[in-house]
Symmetry: C2
């Protein structure tokens, strides 16, 4: 059974890419077949995996714009056990390109349903916005994971994610929900971190992941070598936290 | 002479809002007349100043869509010596709304030129994207300031900012340039921070600001009280760094 796990948050720099990439690596280390999709024109998930941005013949946007193209055309293998659909420069203008099509925000969902290649997980890294690509991802999601720093602006961002998801559900009649809220870059020595974390436990206890990702510089160093942390520093605190998160996701999302 | 200082970076969470807000407060503390404009639908500069998002009759987008409206209609006073054009919920759909107008990316520049009220500085906080609002801001800029964390993905983001600015210049015949690169959340104890900072000194020494903003939790606490750091914790390391940055900007940008 395919689980499409969307990692999203309009707030920038909260650890979306670090989560998507290291979760893809950890889930594939647990013998799951995983496809990572980079929907951000910055292409951080792509370079964090050691790959180049797609400058080739067809990109994901071409596949979304053409009925006859399928996702298999843009899937690449990586050096690590998971596959990747890399970012491409045309993602910047996706908003304008897709808006002229009929029901532009449900295209990704349709393409994923039509995909022949079989995976256990599709993990989608979103840009820091609530534009066309992020809404496409949210509508294609079977589970939504929101990484967030334990800081004030991030907490504010959570309220607006909730509002946006409600609006999409009203417009489309679907029932997208936030399945996991993940605390990232957590530092228990900082009072602000502890206070915001406590507030999350009070108001969002059901959705809050048990796993907390600590601030750990190895997670920030690994991308400069083009590798997930599991292959850069397997014993680091941050690496082990993402393995624990993969375990939590397998337990919570595979049985429901 | 009005200086329009645009704080931009497609990379998320690098300190754009923290820089725009604290620079507005520091420049107005140095007796400059300052207007802060929040172009990000998240509205962090707006709430960081203790204001509400604009749910009123007219918003900045209304002013940009209507020839007859002027910026004065959406300028608000704040509790601190600078004025503010707050974010509004319709910023999310700015891309689609503006794209049907003739030369949609030069509207903000025109509205700023027509503005009657006189300021020394207009400081613009951009969203983490290179969409319609950010390009509007870049084309309206007299000076462009790029905050960036000393980490790998941020360094990558700098290369793509440079590329995008070159593309805008080719299309419009203008000469937008990066006037300042500001190191934020700098921690000299972390090797990655030191290495990235050294790389910036080697490749971007001309544009690199002398002022470096240290990681300082007071800068992250202040927004939860709706106040710039100068009014929350005037002696904090982060607050003093933004005062020093205001001094550096006054010296470098007012004389040229
Ligand atoms: N747990 C962590 N400990 C230390 N550094 C981290 C951690 N998680 C992420 N980082 C670093 O923090 C920065 C922001 O993380 P990342 O780029 O993953 O966030 P993002 O939400 O994907 O950003 P964007 O909004 O730009 O897409 C990166 O430089 C990353 O290497
Ligand atoms: N020098 C600093 N020291 C400690 N924390 C900081 C510093 N600068 C910013 N922060 C905190 O880091 C987070 C990211 O900063 P900020 O929101 O200003 O970045 P941004 O680039 O505006 O993000 P976005 O891309 O979402 O607009 C915020 O929670 C902020 O309070
Ligand atoms: Mg990212
Ligand atoms: Mg911001």
């Amino acid at each position: 059974m395919l689980i499409t796990l969307v990692v999203a948050n309009q707030k920038g720099g909260v650890g979306k890419t670090t989560t998507a990439l290291n979760l893809a690596a950890s889930l594939s280390a647990a013998s799951r077949k995983v496809l990572l999709i980079d929907l951000d024109s910055q292409g951080n998930s792509t370079t964090g995996t050691g790959e180049e941005k797609n400058e080739g013949l067809h990109s994901l946007i071409d596949v979304m714009l053409n009925e006859s193209f399928s996702l298999e055309e843009v899937i690449e293998e990586t050096k690590y056990k998971f596959d990747l659909i890399p970012a491409s420069p045309d993602l910047i203008s996706a908003e304008i390109e897709l808006s002229s099509l009929p029901s532009p925000t449900s295209i990704l969902k349709k393409k994923l349903t039509d995909m022949q290649k079989s995976y256990d997980y599709v993990v989608i890294d979103c840009p820091p916005s609530l534009g066309m690509m992020s809404v496409n991802a949210l509508r294609a999601a079977s589970k939504v994971l929101i990484p967030l720093q334990c800081e004030y602006y991030s907490l504010e961002g959570l309220a607006s994610m909730n509002k946006t998801i409600k609006e999409i559900n009203e417009k489309t009649g679907e029932n997208i929900e936030i399945n996991g809220i993940l605390r990232t870059m957590y530092d228990s020595r900082i009072r602000l971190s502890r206070e915001v974390s406590k507030e999350l436990e009070e108001h969002f206890s059901e959705q809050l992941c048990d796993t907390v990702i600590p601030r750990n510089v190895k997670l920030a160093e690994a991308p400069s070598f083009g590798m997930p942390a599991l292959y850069y520093e397997p014993e680091a605190k941050g690496t082990l936290a993402y393995l624990a998160l993969a375990g939590e996701i397998i337990n919570k999302f595979e049985s429901s």
